[in-house]
């Protein structure tokens, strides 16, 4: 048993006999259970407060300033995200079609499989939320479409969609 026998009998004998008789040896064994309790509590606290999860990131590359890139009409997929959450897609200058978010992933996968050179343009309405943008970008990432760019949503786009739906 570690550390229990601390007192040295030789020294005690050297002291005066009066003292030696009165001196009761106090037990050196301390009950450590409460201490262990406290320490365990602290460990639990620190374990629970330690943040192990670092957030994930999505990397985006912007083209270095306004360098016009020629894109073949047939390989351009435009996704327009409206503020109300509806998504419209079209190839080149075809009529835009509405698509639900859950159908987006199969569509993207099918398109990229049929044309690996596909370039995707994402336009999100300014009133839309950041979450919508991240969601759409995430779908692109899942479909392994690495080449996509963000473009501002203009009035022309809105008219384009309205015209496409009306006509």
């Amino acid at each position: 048993m570690a550390g229990a026998d601390v007192a040295q009998p030789k020294k005690e004998r050297k002291g005066s006999t009066k003292k030696a008789k009165k001196l009761h040896r106090v037990s050196a064994r301390v009950d450590l259970t409460p201490m262990v309790d406290v320490v365990m509590l602290l460990i639990t606290f620190f374990m629970l407060t330690t943040v192990f999860t670092t957030p994930q990131t999505m990397e985006i590359n912007l083209p270095p300033d306004e360098t016009p890139v020629e894109v073949g009409e047939s390989s351009l997929l435009t996704l327009r995200v409206m503020a109300d959450g509806s998504i419209y897609w079209n190839m080149g200058i075809e009529r835009p079609q509405r698509i639900t978010f859950s159908d987006l992933r199969p569509l993207l996968m099918e398109r990229i499989a049929s044309n690996p050179k596909l370039i995707t343009l994402v336009k999100v309405q300014r009133d839309g939320t950041f979450n919508q943008m991240v969601d759409v970008m995430d779908e692109l990432g899942i479909a392994r479409i690495t080449r996509f760019s963000m473009a501002p949503f203009k009035d022309v786009d809105l008219k384009f969609i309205q015209k496409g739906l009306g006509g």
């Binding site: 320490v39 994930q56 990131t57 999505m58 985006i60 912007l62 270095p64 939320t129 943008m133 963000m150």
Partner: protein, 153 residues
């Protein structure tokens, strides 16, 4: 009967305390308390698997109401950019886009290795984020990341 001796119930706790203390010290030293941030954002979720780098990060917070905050992780850099009084603040409110551009240029000059990340709230209007991305393009930061939470399903 006579042979049966009762085993001592007193257990020596010392080694256990030693181990516990060691663990405690480890956790105390490794814990980094997240400093209270003025910019509260709820991150969107995604399947992106890149981890956020731990150092050399410049963060742009875009809160729900569209206000912008800029922060860097190193304290020396904070002093250089925002002044001594903002040394302990993880993020400082930026009044407008021009100031944001200036501050980012200064930060990048002070530490060229700085990586830019955007922490946007789920409900932030996309227009504000678009503006921030335009500012980034202006100051020639063409590579940046969006911080998201990992989707668990």
């Amino acid at each position: 009967m006579a042979k049966k001796t009762r085993a001592s119930v007193i257990i020596d706790m010392t080694p256990m305390v030693d181990v516990c203390m060691l663990l405690l010290t480890f956790f105390m030293l490794t814990t980094q308390f997240r400093p209270p941030s003025e910019a509260e954002v709820t991150l969107p979720v995604s399947h992106a698997a890149f981890k956020l780098p731990e150092s050399n990060v410049m963060t742009i917070w875009v809160t729900k109401d569209g206000s912008l905050f800029l922060g860097v992780d190193a304290q020396q850099l904070r002093v250089k950019i925002f002044g001594e009084e903002n040394k302990l603040r993880p993020s400082v409110k930026v009044p407008d886009k021009q100031t944001l551009a200036d501050l980012m240029v200064r930060a990048r000059i002070a530490n060229p290795k700085l990586r830019t990340v955007i922490r946007g709230d789920k409900g932030t209007p996309y227009g504000v984020v678009e503006d921030v991305m335009n500012v980034l393009q202006q100051v020639k930061i063409t590579r940046f990341s969006l911080v998201t939470e990992l989707e668990t399903k």
